[in-house]
Symmetry: C2
Subunit: 397 residues, 2 copies
């Protein structure tokens, strides 16, 4: 694992007083020294925040120079003012990076129903421009600048050698809860110095997202701001990757995205467990995903695991209402490797041992096997705790 | 509102030591003096408990004489033994009512993964047979015998006059959480002395369920045991209801079912609010239902209301990820009658007043209007509280 700033990128994270605590960065600026190919994947919510609308209109692209990120206010507005603010934030970021106004993208997360504090953001972008760097400190500050109720910053990186060229892929992300009053949204920014065409960048990002960020859920609430961006500036040199080289890149990109997705699930609001759900034996991947998502979003499954209870009934019955037909006599279930249910019937197991294995480990594994086919998927989620309720009910007090 | 035992029915609820507390009835017996028409609606879960399998095989019917209900153990077993136990429980109930073994139906709710304690159930059925009665006390005891973590028993009734005949419809139900280790399932039993054919009974029950129990959710987890039965013994006299008479009956039946559904939602585990979601202006009812269900099951909406926060962003964004396309510029939202969002934009509102109206009332109203058509629905749910998490995580301690 290698986390560093890819060649040709500079970044900074600063505090510009959107968040209250001066120790919390709330504005990040990422600059590419040369025009970068950029691709994005965006929320599937019908209601889209202004930053999503702006970035969607500018990607895929082959000339992005800057990304500005603010946390603390989501600009989750669909009206004219939200759009104007997003454009102005992008223009400012482009200006300090010496680029044209439309060569920048923006990400925002935080309180909804409040307009962006544009004066603070202007000051923040100017302050960040002065601090742009490529050190680990700069990278961490930039990763911190996108956080809301996350308890840790989330970075992942891979170095791969393709045709004698060292290529770096580094991603940052934030999660916590999907949407909230003082917190919001899954955001991700992946940077690479690999050379990609806009089309391959988009395809690679979609493929990586499909098996990482789209296989992850904290509370099932889809934000209006969800965005993952991939910037590829080609500074590593060479022609745009193709064929086997592209496959090598894709594989590393997938690893980076999976690592970030797991970090988000494991750091869900109030979470005490990172739950990995492995589905096998389905007739197709979309059926497997639907089952995984239904199990992951069942409050009864999430609370049982929080209570360290190997409650096979809740897990099996959640699978049963996913809307996917299957033979109930063909289900088998393991929790943390212990078989609890085999071919449609509960089996004898040492409840205390399974319970202890859940209680004593932050990682919990659920394996569900069906007898319908050979398709499957992996999915990550968090448990549901009283702390989650407190964070999301009592935030005004 | 008139709650009494319909003519020709007798019932009892007793404690037979399935539940620990001797003050908690855990076995109910309902008897019809004459063979009754019976219809059922059952869980849509792929995994079905034995009582569901048995009742499905025996309904619709025109000769049911008894229903036995036990709470404390769900018999959520799909294997041979579960089926044998369900059949034996039905046979015993039929025997004490002087009927053939296959003239009885069964309902079970409670712990899953445990077989029915058949000896206790035998004793319970015998004890209940001796106590069969038609008083309010008998009715309440029978309603109590189906409860699990419900905090109150749930009864609703209507008296209607059809062609000079007084017809009584009385229903009992239980809810709490959809599924659990010490608790499970939505169960309902509606009794009437009206004359119905098996076909009209089934159609009437399906129609009533569609706009009551199927428009209600506590945690979105669909149990393997969910069942609602309708028994119509015709003791009120006359020929099976048709046309306008049937419509009058249907309307009263709907009211009974809606009242029970609301009672279940409002008594969800840990609930402090009964949330009524009214959707209007959709292109069709199934779209409206999908939006209502998505809003109802969003943990962020449920926690916000628990915290008395009129968080329009969570509600509007939940509608946005229901999978129903709509014009975001056409959404309007009212909470407790206060307009928060009009035609796609937030409006100024007195946050303290709206918050107080949520905090000070157990009933909360969410009205969402769209500009897609004229279809709509009503849906009921509960808020999500730390107490729900405690009940569902810490039940072993």
């Amino acid at each position: 694992m290698s986390i560093c700033v890819p060649k040709g990128f500079l970044m900074a994270g600063v505090h510009c007083r959107i968040k209250r605590s001066p120790r919390c960065e709330d504005l990040s600026l990422v600059m590419s020294e040369t025009p970068a190919v950029a691709a994005g994947v965006y929320t599937q919510n019908v209601v889209r925040a202004a930053p999503v609308a702006l970035d969607r209109s500018r990607t895929p692209s082959d000339r992005i120079r800057a990304v500005a990120i603010c946390s603390g206010v989501a600009n989750a507005c669909t009206g004219e003012r939200g759009m104007r603010d997003a454009e102005e934030m992008a223009s400012l970021a482009a200006a300090v990076c010496g680029a044209e106004p439309d060569q920048a993208l923006v990400l925002s997360t935080g309180v909804i129903g409040v307009h962006l504090p544009m004066e603070k953001i202007m000051q923040g972008i100017s302050a960040a421009a002065v601090k742009l760097g490529r050190s680990e400190t700069s990278l961490i500050a930039a990763a911190r600048g996108m956080l809301t109720t996350d308890t840790v910053h989330k970075l992942a990186g891979r170095t791969v050698t393709i045709v004698d060229r060292e290529i770096q892929i580094t991603g940052m992300a934030k999660g916590a809860a999907m949407m909230g009053p003082n917190m919001a949204t899954m955001l991700g920014l992946i940077m690479t110095d690999a050379a990609l065409t806009p089309e391959t960048a988009r395809n690679a990002l979609v493929a990586a997202t499909e098996e990482s960020f789209n296989c992850m859920s904290v509370d099932g609430h889809v934000s209006t701001n969800d965005t993952v961006l991939l910037l590829a500036n080609g500074t590593a040199g060479g022609k745009p990757l193709k064929y086997d080289d592209l496959a090598t890149f894709q594989s590393a990109l997938n690893e980076v995205c999976v690592e970030l997705a797991k970090a988000i699930a494991g750091d869900g609001e109030g979470a005490t467990h990172l739950i990995t759900i492995q589905i096998r034996g389905c007739s197709d991947r979309s059926s497997a995903l639907l089952i995984a998502k239904t199990v992951a979003n069942s409050p009864l499954v999430k609370t049982a695991l929080h209570g360290a209870d190997p409650n096979w009934g809740r897990i099996v019955s959640a699978a049963g209402y996913a809307g996917v037909p299957f033979d109930p006599g063909g289900i088998s279930l393991r929790v943390n490797g212990f078989p609890l249910y085999e071919k449609g019937s509960p089996v004898e197991f040492d409840g205390a041992a399974v319970s202890a294995s859940i209680r004593d480990n932050r990682d919990t594994s659920i394996e569900l096997d069906f007898s319908e086919g050979t398709a499957g998927c992996r999915f990550w989620t968090a448990d549901l705790t009283a702390e989650y309720v407190r964070l999301n009910a009592d935030y005004h007090t």
